[in-house]
Subunit: 338 residues, 2 copies
């Protein structure tokens, strides 16, 4: 059902198309009498004079899209808020798209006639797209990539140093004197590499202290949700020699692990200390509150939006590789203090 | 910076505009030689052949917008997932817009040239827009309203029965024998009425049992976030006669209250029982786990998307008023059982 056209309105109002266009677009003044006559017909026909047409002329929509795997993962929800705030400063509106890490959904952004072309630019946190697919994409919508994924510097990219973040979390546990530090969240076969980088950081913290990693303590999970954190923790607690600390690859896994520990009557941090990654608000309110390695989400957002707007303006030429700081926030789950 | 036009491409490739259009839009076959020549220029100029133009012709975008106050409020993030799932069944993509309850941001959706016109329809969870503003809106993009707000049945509307939900939560506490049941989250002066309806339900549960409400126990909060839940709980604990139970108007307030209780060394549910509303996943993993009144979010999403698509097709005529079921989920924060 295509909407009525300017021509339809003009015919019905018995005026010229130019007059209708002037009423709709405001290019030239129109007498009150004519304006009223046109307005009645616009309303009758439900004409939707539209941004689509205007943007076609201007080549801009004033909107950017933030594309993330899962909005109900608090890290992405909190990042979305920061991106929306950062974009608003520049007069841009952000619409958020959830891919569920689905390959088809992600690839649909790359096509020539993709809905991506509705936007002036994309901030994309990819899970499955390869660098090759990105390079060969059919549209020219500017893209800034967020988070970890192998892209060899061919695209604008904003992320934290995941190896260092994982190292810092693990080092914190080892420096507390823990000697059986487990890792929950490895994804040895995933396309994305966040998990793999975090495993490297976990191993590096051990190696630097001349400590061995007990491979039994490295537990892979299919995703980074609370439920799998709890399941992995249950599995670790069932070992003949359970861990005395756990580095979880994100806060949701850690919050699931905390729940499993509480349910099993294990004291945190006395018996098992727990660290997550992401710095989500939920970890401030959990019992015990959660020690975490927190990326500077506001800075990720500012850098990503700034880079994208430069790319839209054509002022960003070579691919920007921006590394955002993170910091360890020590709370009850490792420190025993409020 | 308007993008290159078909004319620019045609001139540079030394072919007719029709040929370029045929390459871009596929209306008619083009020889391989011509196609290649045009493609080179399309690439050189960074032409973005686009959905915008196509949608202008078809009057459809295949996209609907979900407009919510805050994405980092888990209820909305979880609802977004359900809406995305429900829309996908119908081949629709959902983009999510966060308003922060900002009046200007909400009103911008109502204008004649609003970005709302980029979408085939809107699912809108309004905080400040009035029924009058909605009625007089300048565009004709179909809208379905979500959640509570006074609209007098003039618009498609999907919500739970908030009075009943609050009644059920409060009744659960009273039926456990609690006699000083506090309420956290009243908003007597808010434009939206979710909080006001929940206060009515809280009072009704008392009235039906012939029990008085101690007004000192009804604590207003400016928003529904964890921090204010904790602050309100601290205030209640400082009363000469603290409550023995708390009904929080959403789960985030309740999770904040739980944290304040734990910090104060108050036993839950032994000394104070706690109930929230929303059924967010976080409440399954908190310690203690959270009793909650959970709306059927998947059903809200299905009903909202179905109604919106009918409105887009023009098959939904009179305003639909759809009430979605909710249920009480009893967990440790009231039952003392895992």
């Amino acid at each position: 059902m295509a909407g009525p056209t300017l021509r339809d309105v003009a015919r019905r109002a018995n005026v010229s198309i130019r007059t209708v266009s002037n009423v709709v677009n405001g290019y030239a003044p129109v007498s009150d009498e004519l304006r009223a006559r046109v307005q009645v017909v616009l309303d009758e026909l439900g004409y939707r004079p539209n941004l689509i047409a205007r943007n076609l002329r201007q080549g801009r929509t004033g909107m950017i899209a933030l594309v993330v795997p899962e909005l109900d993962v608090p890290y992405f929800a909190e990042l979305a808020r920061e991106v929306i705030t950062a974009a608003r400063v520049h007069g841009y509106v952000v619409m958020v798209d959830q891919t569920d890490g689905d390959a088809d959904h992600e690839r649909a952004l790359l096509g020539r006639d993709s809905r991506a072309t509705m936007f002036d630019g994309l901030l994309l946190s990819p899970l499955t797209i390869t660098a090759e697919e990105l390079r060969q994409r059919g549209n020219r919508v500017p893209i800034v990539l967020l988070g970890e994924h192998i892209f060899n510097g061919s695209f604008h990219h904003v992320a934290i140093d995941n190896v260092a973040a994982a190292h810092d979390a693990t080092a914190h546990l080892l420096d507390l004197g823990r000697r059986r530090v487990a890792a929950i969240g490895d994804q040895p076969y995933a396309t994305g590499e966040t998990a793999q980088l975090r495993t490297i950081g976990y191993r590096r913290a051990h190696a630097r202290r001349g400590l061995p990693v007990d491979e039994e303590l490295v537990v892979p999970t299919a995703n980074f949700h609370r439920r799998l954190g709890a399941a992995a923790m249950d599995r670790l607690l069932a070992l003949p020699e359970p861990p005395d600390a756990v580095f979880c690859y994100n806060d949701l896994l850690a919050l699931g692990a905390l729940r499993a520990l509480t349910r099993a009557g294990v004291r945190v941090p006395d018996d098992v200390a727990v660290v997550g990654v992401d710095g989500v608000e939920e970890g401030q309110y959990s019992t015990p509150s959660l020690t975490t390695v927190a990326p500077d989400k506001a800075e990720i957002a500012r850098a990503a939006v700034g880079t994208l707007l430069s790319a839209i303006d054509g002022t960003a030429t070579s691919a920007a590789e921006i590394v955002i700081p993170h910091r360890l926030i020590v709370r009850e789950s490792t420190a025993g203090e409020v």
